[in-house]
Symmetry: C2
Subunit: 194 residues, 2 copies
Amino acid sequence: MPLDLILNNLEKHIHLTREEQELFTAYLQPKKIKRKQFLLTYGEVCKYSAFVTAGCLRGYTVDKSGIEHVLSFAPADWWIADMYSLISQKPGIQNIEALEDTDVLLLSKANQEKLYTQIPKFEHFFRILTENSLVASQQRLIDSLSLTAEERYNNFCKRYPTLIDHLPQKQIASYIGVTPEFFSRMKSVMVRKK
Amino acid sequence: MPLDLILNNLEKHIHLTREEQELFTAYLQPKKIKRKQFLLTYGEVCKYSAFVTAGCLRGYTVDKSGIEHVLSFAPADWWIADMYSLISQKPGIQNIEALEDTDVLLLSKANQEKLYTQIPKFEHFFRILTENSLVASQQRLIDSLSLTAEERYNNFCKRYPTLIDHLPQKQIASYIGVTPEFFSRMKSVMVRKK
DNA sequence: CCAATTTCTTAACCTACATCAAGTGCCGCC
DNA sequence: GGCGGCACTTGATGTAGGTTAAGAAATTGG
């Protein structure tokens, strides 16, 4: 059941009473997104944090020469949002798209802020969630500055083991920051090496 | 006075009473770091968040071919730490070094956690601080994936206007992710263009 | 104020990855 | 069940930025 998944996710960092759980779940809004549909598009203000209960989303930006850069994948049990836009409430820079039919639970920014005051444990939870994202983001920056495409691919495989053979490889190429052409070549070289 | 600087920094997001201010400042530990001395070195566990009151620090990693990558500069009124190590309490991956004689106020992880329970506003403050770092880190990742060295340099100038003519240019080169040689060439080309 | 070190510049050559182009395989869909 | 389009491959060629080296300029510490 989807609500169990999100309650277990919270349980990793905070413990809620029955009533608190009920207050929380009342704030959630389930939504289904079909493959290739968008949860959020460039220029829109991000009003929700999304928790994925089934399927998979990707968040990406498009640069001025039209190239897409995948910033994150969100399979089941992950949170996703355009943090820049969610925080500033300015027009966002990400597209968030379903890679397959996907179910999410939406928590609006307004409700999230109510939770902070009604149940301070949520401030704690989201602080930790944000800290972990920050560490991941910094690590990815370090990787992009100091590793080769091949090493970044190996890191991707560790970080998203469930996604490797599940995802069009152009999406993986975009995540590790190379063209699909180069990624294809690289993979065939890696096979030959073994 | 240094304490005013940090209290004003907090004031950007939370309001403290006189007593809360006193409780907080009692937790702080002033420290002086001479130019080229380290606040933290690779492999050490990070036990403090540091707030700079004068001077300037840099946080950087060294990759396996010995190249340094500057992750952040911290001039006066900025916070710095090896977040990965501070959070996990595992051996860190950053060196934090003084670029000139620098004064910091240290807040230990233990004290920081006491603040979270004694004055929940601090959980709020550090959540926001972490959110802003996350957004900056994501933006820098996007920049490194989609901009040229020249565009990244322009962004650097916007982000750290006070540092541009204040900092050895090899440090800037390292921050934007190019060699000092290339950076030098790039600058002379930029001048000629104008 | 000088010597030592560090920083900056310039130049020739090199490499990881991009771009463009053409072809193959395959999956979904009327 | 055929076909339109997308994902993947492979090859030829282009380029941003790296490497090595060597000299000039600037800082720094004594």
